[in-house]
Structure formats: C-alpha cells, structure tokens
C-alpha cells in the first residue's frame, strides 16, 4: 500500500514507525504530571520529546510523498525469526535447564537462521562451543551461570 501512495516508500514507513512510537509514548505518559517550567514534573520531558518525534515522523512522511526514494526492502523472515527465537530459547532454558541444554539448543536454532545451515556441522560445533563456554565462563571466570539446573 505504501508503495502506491508514496513515491519514497522506505521513508514513508520510517515516518509511520516514528508516529507510532510517539503515539505509544504519548499514551503511556498521559497520566504523568507535567509540572511547570520552574519545577518540571515527571511528564514534561517524555511528552515534549514524544511530540517532537511525532512532528519529525509527520515531516518524514510528508517528504516521502513529494520526493522519490528507495522502495521498501524485502523482509525475509528466516533471519529475524530464528535469531530472536534462539535468544528466547536461551532466556527460557538458562534457569530451568542450565547452559548444558540451553547452549546447544540456542546455537542450533540460531544457526538455522542462515540458509547455509548444515545439520551435522552445527551439531558438533554447538556441543564444542558449549563445552568451551562452560570452561571459560564457569570454570575460569567463575560467573554464576547455571550449568545443569537441577544440580
């Protein structure tokens, strides 16, 4: 839709993004006290800054309708989904299962984000890397990372 309405779709999307960020912060800060210039309340800066972001977002969108610019880049989902997914897996498992389980799983899921994924290589590599991480962070640097959760 943006491609048809605006001659600079990338900037149009950028402006839209800023406007939504500003809207979110305006909504969140709506209950905060503004105060006066002499003694600012907690809401003064957040709301003024959000208004500036809103203004800049509108300006960028306006510019996008009068200038020609690059199209929106294509969004390949594989990269973000698996990279973010692997971080979530780490967050989920580090306390409940420990690094011994979380490490290899994080790396295997993460590695799948690349279309050059090779299963066997990744399996061996992730196990070796986990061993290395346990040695480095737990044994040598003595960080309190759970290696096996139930121990």
């Amino acid at each position: 839709m943006l491609q048809k309405l605006f001659r600079n779709p990338q900037d149009a999307a950028a402006g839209l993004f800023l406007v939504s960020v500003a809207a979110f912060f305006l909504w969140q800060s709506s209950s905060l006290d503004l105060g006066t210039l002499r003694s600012m309340g907690p809401g003064m800066l957040p709301r003024s800054l959000a208004l500036i972001v809103l203004g800049l977002g509108c300006l960028i969108m306006f510019n996008a309708s009068v200038t020609v610019g690059p199209a929106l880049e294509s969004w390949q989902l594989r990269g973000p989904v698996f990279v973010i997914g692997s971080i979530l897996i780490f967050a989920l498992l580090i306390r409940s299962a420990g690094l011994l389980v979380a490490g290899p799983l994080t790396m295997i899921v993460g590695a799948y984000a690349s279309d050059e994924f090779r299963l066997k290589e990744t399996l061996i590599f992730s196990v070796l890397m986990t061993a290395f991480c346990i040695l480095l962070f737990k044994v040598m640097l003595k960080l309190p990372i759970p290696v096996i959760a139930f121990m």
């Binding site: 800023l18 800054l49 594989r78 590695a111 991480c133 960080l143």
Partner: protein, 500 residues
C-alpha cells in the same frame, strides 16, 4: 610540565603492575580478534564482557576494556586490507587503497604502515590526553548545569552532522534515544514513568541491553541477509617492514592524520568516526597525483589509519574530564566505572589519580603491545577470516546471551535484548542509523537532570542558557553546525565524504 611527568610516572607505575599488564594484553588481543572479525564490534563485545570485570579492580577493568576498544581499531584495518571488508566501521576508508596494495602483493607493507602509523598516532594521543587532562578538568569545575546541558546539546548536534544519510532521520533517532532514556523512575518525584507496570523497567532501560540488542543481534540479522563474499588475498603477504621510500611517503600523511583524528576525537558526539574520512579526503586533495588514490596509494592507508587511532584515544578525553561519554563505547565505560562505584567526571582525576593516569599510561603500553603482537599474528588472523559466517554467528549469539545474562543474572535482560534486536533491525530496514539513537539515550538522563537543575536555578527561565557566556558559546557552535549541515552545498559535500 613537572606535574605531567610526575603524573605519567604514577600512571606507568600502575599500568606496569603484572596484573594490569596482563589485562592490557588480554584486552588488546580480544580487541584485535573482534576487530578482525567483521560483524562483531567493540560495543557488543564490551557489553558482553562487562560481567567479567566484576571481579577485577576498577583500574584493571578499565585498562582491559580500553584495550578492547583501541585493539579493535587495529584489527579492523587488517581485515580491510586483506579481505576488502571493513572489520570495523572506522576502517571503511582503509579498504580503498589498502586492499589494492594487497592485490599488488604489498599487503605486508600496507599492514606495516597501518600499524606503525597507528602506533605513532596512539603515542601522540596519549600525550594529548595527559596534557589536556588537567586544564580540562579545571574548566569542568566552572561548569554549572546550564553549561553541561549546552555542551551535551552541542555533542548531539555533532552526532547529527556526522551521521550518514538523511539529517531529519538522524535528528529523529537522537530524540527517540532521549525519549527512551526517560523510561523509568523520575529522578525527583520517584514516580514510575512509562514502565507499563514492569518492575524491571523502573530502573530504566539498561544501556548494555539496548546496545547489545541494537548492535549485537540486529547486526547479526542484517549480516545474514547480505551474503558477503570474502575475497581473502591469496598473494603472499610479503615483507612487513616498509622500505625507506614508503616511510618517507607516509610520514607526512601520518602526522596530518594524527592531528585531524586527535582534534575530531575530542569533540563530543563521536567525532572520531569522521577522522579517517577527513584524512583521506585531505590526502587526496593535496596529493600531486590524486589519480593514484584508490589504486594502492600508501598515503591513503597511512593517513586514515593514524587518524582512526588518534581519534579512538582522544575520545576518552570528554569522558575522563567532563564525565560525558562521546560515543556508545565510552558509555559502556561509564557503566563499568559505576559498577565499581566511580562516578566519571572531573573528580576522577583527584579522587582516583592512579585510575586516570594508569589508564592513560596503559594506552601507550597497549599500543606498543599491538604493534608487537599484531604483525607476527597476521597469519593467524588470515586463517580466522576463513571461518565461514554460518559458524561464526551462532558463537557470537551464545556469547552475547551468556554475557547479557551475567550482567545482572537476569532473564528479563535477555528478553530485553531480543526486543531491542527486533527494534534495531526494523530501524535499519527503514533506513535509520542506530548510532545517534544510542548517543541520545546515553546522554538523555544526564541532560534531563541538568536541564531541570538549570531551570530550577533560573526559576523557569530559558534565558539562563543564553546569559551564561560559556553556555551561549556552545549553543552558538551547535546552531552554526546544524545550519551548515542543512545547507544544500555542504550536504552534497557531506554525501561525497561518506560515499567515497
């Protein structure tokens, strides 16, 4: 002069202790490693290694972290020369002539000149820091809230001018960063602001979490989309020591580069990144035969490399004397200092002289180490560069996860990085440059504090920023810079500098 020598002696005494030498060495080695590897930057690495420094004394911790930072600048040029990919953003310019030299079988000379030029620049920058430290600290003591606020405004304007691409977008990123910094407990009333009831957010967004998300994870996703071809030089690296003629050719560019880099580095607002570009442009302008540039001109390696390293080091000046971090790496240093109970600012030099001068002296020692360890290790770096990215990035992923978890032993921090990774990726997709946002975030809290203090003192009148001469001067500079950057003719030149 006597005090400088006395202070430097104290510094070298501190830096030469066995532990600090070891930490400096580790820092330089890790720094070079991540500098060599494209796709891992000093920001993510330092955020990742923050927890490791908990057990070390603050001086040692900062010595190591500083080593990572300037080590990365060294390493970045190795990749630029050998593979034609900038290992770090600041070594983009080095790819132009450095890689051409490598193709002509002069890779060794290019590496040698880069290393020697960097070492010289590092030495000069160390002296500059030592010499400017005391007077700037005294100046800082004259600063009230209004001056601090205006100085930070100038810093942010510098960051806008120096950002690539659209200026409006850069401004938007800065304000977005400032806005993010207001999340968390209000500093006067203690009221929770925009935390959506999430308890972890009442301390505000953690800088390491934000930086790791935006510069660690978002970069990985980005790199996965652009399949890079690594054109590792197959020629022999050749002899490392430059011939006499090479030294003569690069002496002046190194000198000029050092000067440019050192001055730009001091500017708040990440002026250091501009150093290499400025140096390259100048060398090309004054060269007798500009057409040689881009085809393996040694001046095009020597100047920018010196500027790069000088800027990387003088960037410590605003942090150590005024307590204002000029870029994201320095902001992480603030984090490392506060973890150890040291508040960065003019009082560091009087309260912790061994930390200040120890760090300054360690920079020189670190540069010497880099010169010595780097050249013989080139073979290892080349082999490392042949490790494919599909194996590299899962390793980066797990290191980042462990690092960010360990800072506070907190799962919600890990979730936070995932969130900001997504935001960072979105920003890149929409053509925003994330670096100014990070700077806005870094300065946000301090700016709000100073602004509110200044307005309380002046009873709500904004005239205080204009009435006070230092503050007025800083704001005038900021306005001039902004107007210049918006002028069409300058804007064209700015694009040229960055696209060259």
């Amino acid at each position: 002069m006597d005090t400088i020598i006395g202070n430097l002696a104290l510094g070298f005494n501190t830096a030469m202790s066995l532990q600090n030498l070891g930490l400096c060495f580790i820092g330089c080695l890790v720094g070079t490693l991540i500098g060599v590897l494209p796709g891992v930057g000093p920001i993510a690495t330092i955020a990742m290694l923050l927890p490791i420094t908990f057990g070390i004394d603050p001086t040692g911790a900062l010595i190591m972290l500083a080593g990572i930072y300037y080590g990365a600048q060294y390493g970045g040029s190795t990749t630029a020369i050998l593979v034609n990919i900038p290992g770090e953003a600041t070594s983009v310019v080095t790819t132009l002539d450095g890689h051409q030299m490598a193709k002509q079988g002069r890779a060794g000379v290019a590496l040698g000149v880069a290393a020697i030029g960097s070492f010289f620049a590092g030495t000069v920058a160390t002296i500059v820091i030592a010499a400017l430290g005391l007077p700037l600290t005294k100046l800082a003591l004259l600063f009230g809230p209004a001056e601090y606020f205006s100085l930070m405004v100038m810093g942010l304007v510098c960051a806008i001018v120096l950002a690539r691409g659209s200026i409006v977008k850069a401004i938007a990123m800065i304000v977005f960063g400032l806005l993010l910094s207001t999340v968390g407990t209000d500093l006067e009333t203690g009221e929770d602001r925009m935390t959506m009831g999430i308890a972890e957010l009442s301390d505000g967004v953690d800088f390491a979490v934000l930086a790791m998300g935006i510069f660690g994870f978002a970069e990985i996703i980005r790199n996965l989309e652009n399949v890079e071809t690594r054109d590792v030089v197959r020629n022999k690296i050749g002899r490392l020591l430059p011939a006499w003629q090479d030294i003569k050719d690069s002496a002046m560019p190194v000198l000029r580069g050092t000067g440019i880099g050192a001055i730009l580095g001091i500017l708040p607002g990440n002026g250091a990144v501009l150093g290499p570009f400025a140096s390259y442009t100048i060398e090309k302008k004054i060269a007798k035969d500009p057409s040689r540039f881009g085809k393996g001109a040694i001046e095009g390696v020597a100047g920018p490399e010196a500027a790069n390293n000088a800027g990387a080091q003088t960037a410590f000046i605003p942090l150590l004397t005024l307590g204002i971090p000029p870029n994201a790496v320095m902001a992480l240093m603030v984090g490392a200092m506060t973890i150890h109970g040291i508040i960065p600012g003019p009082q560091v030099m009087t309260k912790n002289p061994e930390l200040f001068w120890g760090m300054v002296a360690s920079m020189w020692i670190g540069n010497l180490m880099l010169l010595i360890i780097n050249l013989p290790l080139v073979g290892i770096w080349v082999r490392l560069l042949k490790v494919p990215y599909r194996l590299l990035f899962p390793a980066i992923l797990i290191f980042c996860c462990i690092g960010i978890y360990s800072i506070n032993n907190s799962v919600s921090d890990v979730l936070g990085t995932a969130f900001f990774g997504l935001i960072g990726f979105t920003l890149i997709k929409f053509g925003f440059e994330p670096a100014p946002m990070l700077l806005g975030f870094v300065l946000g809290k301090l700016m709000e504090e100073k602004l509110r203090q200044a307005l309380i003192i002046s009873r709500g009148s904004f005239e205080t920023f204009i009435d006070r001469p230092i503050s007025l001067g800083l704001l005038v500079v900021a306005v001039i810079l902004l107007v210049l950057a918006l002028l069409p003719s300058i804007q064209k030149g700015r694009d040229e500098v960055f696209t060259e």
